[in-house]
Amino acid sequence: MRPLTEEETRVMFEKIAKYIGENLQLLVDRPDGTYCFRLHNDRVYYVSEKILKLAANISGDKLVSLGTCFGKFTKTHKFRLHITALDYLAPYAKYKVWIKPGAEQSFLYGNHVLKSGLGRITENTCQYQGVVVYSMADVPLTRPPWRSCLPWESTGMVGR
């Protein structure tokens, strides 16, 4: 377990900033406690200082996970966000897309969302923007990584 280097932090922040923009500093600097990012076995964990101190007592090979896993660094040092980060990214997301109940199942199984399935969308969302997809009940959705596309990037906005 170790903290991230400058380079790794930059790559990770660039990825996360695509979805939450400048709200990222609310994740870094929180009023209710010190939270930090730590790297363990190529995975980045977002963990509070208290839990980190406890986790330091576990040897590296026996430690499975700590805090929340935000994502991992691949062999070529690219950062891949994981579904477990959704809880932290969804409240700060800048551009949100709500989809109708009919299209929701289709989306969850990996299909594109048609324009007719779109309920609401944040205004001023430009093309190819990273968004967070919600159901009409304001539940953030995602789907399993499919052919190396990011889980909830709605690149399938057909007919825009």
């Binding site: 377990m1 170790r2 903290p3 280097t5 400058e6 932090t9 930059r10 922040f13 660039e14 900033a17 400048e22 990222l24 500093q25 870094v28 600097d29 010190t34 930090c36 730590r38 200082e49 980190l52 101190k53 330091a56 001023n124 430009c126």
Partner: protein, 365 residues
């Protein structure tokens, strides 16, 4: 009147004295035992007041501490004083309490090689004098060490021995021999130390030549030997097919696990600030799209107005309507014209030209 004041003052002074005396004197049933050398006072009085006090006896504890400290200080004031550099200082007596050992008893060390040998042979240490008479300098000098009696490196005249090369430097030879002896002694000392602490010497860890060393051990020994030169192996050639050793680069250093959290946060926020500053504030595509949309809306509104007015006044002013129909078509021609060219345009349209907006940005149509 003044007499009364003086009386009052005297009475007050007396009261103050009594109070001070009361504060200084402390009544105890059993006298305290003092060890002034260690600044220690032992109170053997039974703690009845504390037991009576209850769950949080803060006030009683404080009173007890104050009383005992007062008694100790009273004792200190009775010690003989002296003056040291403008400060009055009490000379403490020798401590009487024997403090327990801080560290455990040292375990017996293994004998050094010489000690083992001496024990074997039955050699006892001979008592020798510290100083030896030195004829050369005419004074008593120590037996060994700095300015010793017979230092052969300090001789000014050395005869070349019978069988030696006449061009050899005898003085350098003696200095070299001394250096070698010193190095050998140091090595033996370290070996004895390593044996005592059951440790390995780092330089020879596992590299004593036995007949049965594995390929890895031999390789390691070879690497260490290569690096053990004055230039730390920089100018040692490799064999034709020998590969560079693995893992000989600098080890990467990471920040400690619990570094300074505040500093970490600060550097991350700084990184975010730099990232945000690099992004352009004004998105050119969106700005131009917005501008073009506005223009289109304006023109659409104008066209609607013209057509409405034209319908209302169509009968009376046929020519006028035709005239008013002109500018939109002219506008259309202008748009087409400016799409291709950069600065040319019909000169009569100077007033209504809207600058080069139409050239930049994407035309959504």
């Amino acid at each position: 009147m003044e007499g009364q004041n003086v009386e009052e003052l005297l009475a007050k002074a007396e009261r103050d004295e009594a109070e001070k005396l009361q504060r200084i004197t402390v009544h105890k049933e059993l006298e305290l035992e003092f060890d002034l050398g260690n600044l220690l006072a032992s109170d053997r009085n039974p703690p009845t007041e504390l037991r009576r006090a209850g769950p949080s006896p803060e006030a009683e504890l404080q009173a007890l501490a104050r009383d005992n400290t007062q008694l100790l200080i009273n004792q200190l004031w009775q010690l003989p004083t002296e003056r040291v550099e403008e400060a009055l200082v009490a000379r403490l007596p020798e401590p009487t309490t024997r403090l327990p050992r801080e560290k455990p008893v040292p375990r017996p060390r293994p004998l050094t090689r010489w000690q083992q040998f001496a024990r074997l042979k039955g050699i006892r240490p001979k008592k020798k004098t510290n100083l030896v008479w030195d004829e050369v300098s005419g004074q008593w000098r120590r037996r060994w060490g700095y300015q010793r009696a017979r230092d052969d490196t300090k001789e000014w005249l050395i005869e070349v021995p019978g069988g030696a090369d006449p061009l050899e430097d005898q003085f350098a030879k003696r200095i070299q021999a001394k250096k070698e002896r010193v190095a050998k002694n140091e090595l033996n000392r370290l070996r004895n130390l390593a044996r005592a602490h059951k440790m390995q010497l780092p330089s020879t860890a596992g590299m004593h030549p036995t007949g049965h060393q594995s390929k890895e051990e031999l390789g390691r020994a070879m690497q260490v030997a290569k690096v053990s030169t004055a230039s730390v192996g920089r100018f040692q050639e490799r064999l034709p097919k020998e590969k560079a050793p693995r893992g000989s680069g600098k080890k990467r250093k990471f920040q400690p696990l619990f570094g300074d959290f505040a500093a970490e946060k600060k550097s991350q926020l700084e990184l975010l600030r730099v990232m945000n500053s690099k992004k352009p504030q004004l998105d050119v595509t969106r700005a131009t799209n917005k501008q073009m949309r506005e223009e289109d809306q304006e023109e659409a509104a104008k066209r609607r107005k013209m057509s409405q007015k034209g319908k209302r006044k169509g009968g009376r002013q046929g020519a006028g309507g035709q005239r008013k129909g002109g500018p939109p078509s002219q506008g259309g021609k202008r748009k087409g014209g400016l799409g291709g060219k950069v600065n040319s345009g019909p000169p009569r349209l100077g007033g209504k030209r809207k600058g080069g907006q139409h050239q930049r940005g994407k035309r959504r149509k």
